[in-house]
Amino acid sequence: MVEPQSSLLSVLRDHLKLTGTKEGCSTGYCGACTVLVDGEPVNACLFFAVDADHRSVTTIEGLSPERGELHPLQSAFIESGGLQCGFCTPGMIMSALGLLLAHPAPDEAAVREALAGNLCRCTGYQSIVAGVLEAAPKVRGADAAPARKRARSRA
């Protein structure tokens, strides 16, 4: 049962069995559970599930256009070596997507700023930054426009 205090993370993982979103700390300090709510990145472990009511939630499972097909960010992370153990990866990719939806052509500093809440213990981050910068022009082509519109209509 979903309780009033349930986190969005527990609803995703325990109720909907969408386990692509990871639980690393449950206190908002690792970013592994990052998902987009109306296009904005949030820590699903802190976010109240009741606050997601009537809003659009995007998780890593919803990223690929078709099952088996990769989103440009996913391809870029694979190509750049931006993942090792993979546990931070879904959250990292969602944060990166949140950035690219709001700022389609970020510079390196903007990428780092946007991903500061996503810890990675394996890669040293350099390959992640490279992956996001590489993906940016492709994401611009893919899905930036509709999502930006969504975000605007809310604000």
């Binding site: 309780e3 009033p4 205090q5 349930s6 986190s7 449950s26 206190t27 908002g28 300090y29 970013g31 990052t34 709510v37 904005e40 990145p41 949030v42 820590n43 802190l46 976010f47 109240f48 009741v50 606050d51 944060s95 949140g98 950035l99 700023e113 946007a114 991903l115 500061a116 809440g117 996503n118």
Partner: protein, 286 residues
């Protein structure tokens, strides 16, 4: 636990009145959630404020910026009217936590969390912010944020809610400085917000707020007095910084830093803040 989504402030107040100390207001809930999930037993009612539209509003009217309690840190950091009239606040909000957290954390929630190093609260205190508070018994009242923080420490306002913060819009100079152990995504060891009005070489209405050096966010009144009304100089900036560290700050040793180091940081960051805000004043540019 019962759950409510009132549509109006009055409705929320009725619920507050009904459930008293068993009620919890949800406005973002970055702190509340963890506590509630670990131990929900004492909580009879969760009152989610999200439907109260007026609490999401940001507007500038008659020289006052009114920011609703539900406005998130991210919106404070990016909303043009706030960036224009309270850049100090926007900057502090943008430096808070990480991007994901800033989407969730609200100004009302931050004030109520009682965090002694909250970037938002440090900046708001320096801005001279006032809280507009809606209560069950009386119509809304407006009082300085610092006074509300003091009252909160003594636990008086159980049946009230902070609806809005008011930030006076005036010509001013400002700066925000903070120090963390690593370079991002961490509560400040010490945070300093500085805001003042310029009159030639002199400063008026100087407000300096300190975070991380006391049980709550503090005003550095001693340092403000050193600077207020007098011509600013390198020596007075240093003197103000020293006063803030030695008289105003009340740091304690804890697991993250010694009181001595925090005091030192107050000196350094206050002086830096003054230089950054008033860097063009002869003789003190760094």
């Amino acid at each position: 636990m019962q759950y409510f989504e009132p549509n109006f402030v009055d409705e929320a107040l009725v619920l507050l009145d009904r459930f008293g100390s068993g009620a919890r207001l949800l406005a973002g809930g970055t702190r509340l959630g963890f506590a509630l999930r670990s131990d929900p037993r004492d909580v009879a009612a969760l009152i989610n404020l999200k439907r109260i539209r007026e609490l999401e509003r940001v507007e500038e009217r008659d020289g006052t910026l009114r920011i609703g309690a539900l406005v998130t840190a991210q919106r404070i950091a990016t909303t043009p009217v706030i960036r224009e009239h309270a850049p100090l606040l926007a900057r502090a909000a943008g430096s808070m936590g990480a991007r994901q957290l800033r989407s969730i954390a609200t100004v009302g929630g931050n004030i109520c969390s009682g965090d002694p190093a909250s970037d938002l609260v440090v900046a708001l205190v320096a801005c001279g912010a006032r809280c507009e508070i809606a209560g069950v018994e009386e119509p809304s009242r407006v009082l300085p944020l610092e006074r509300w923080l003091d009252e909160r420490a003594t636990g008086v306002q159980a049946k009230e809610l902070i609806g809005w913060v008011h930030v006076p819009v005036t010509q001013h100079v400002a700066a925000y400085e903070k120090m963390t152990q690593r370079r991002a995504f961490e509560m400040a060891l010490v945070a300093v917000a500085f805001r003042a009005q310029r009159e030639g070489a002199a400063l008026r209405d100087v407000r300096i707020a300190l975070g991380g050096v006391g049980p709550a966010v503090l005003r550095a009144r001693g340092a403000e007095a050193v600077l207020s009304g007098a011509p600013l100089s390198a020596a007075s900036a240093r003197e103000a910084a020293r006063t803030a560290a030695e008289r105003d700050a009340r740091p304690r040793d804890d697991a993250r830093a010694s009181a001595e180091y925090r005091r030192h940081l107050v000196t350094t960051l206050v002086e830096r803040a003054i230089r950054n805000a008033c860097g063009d004043i002869a003789g003190i540019a760094s």
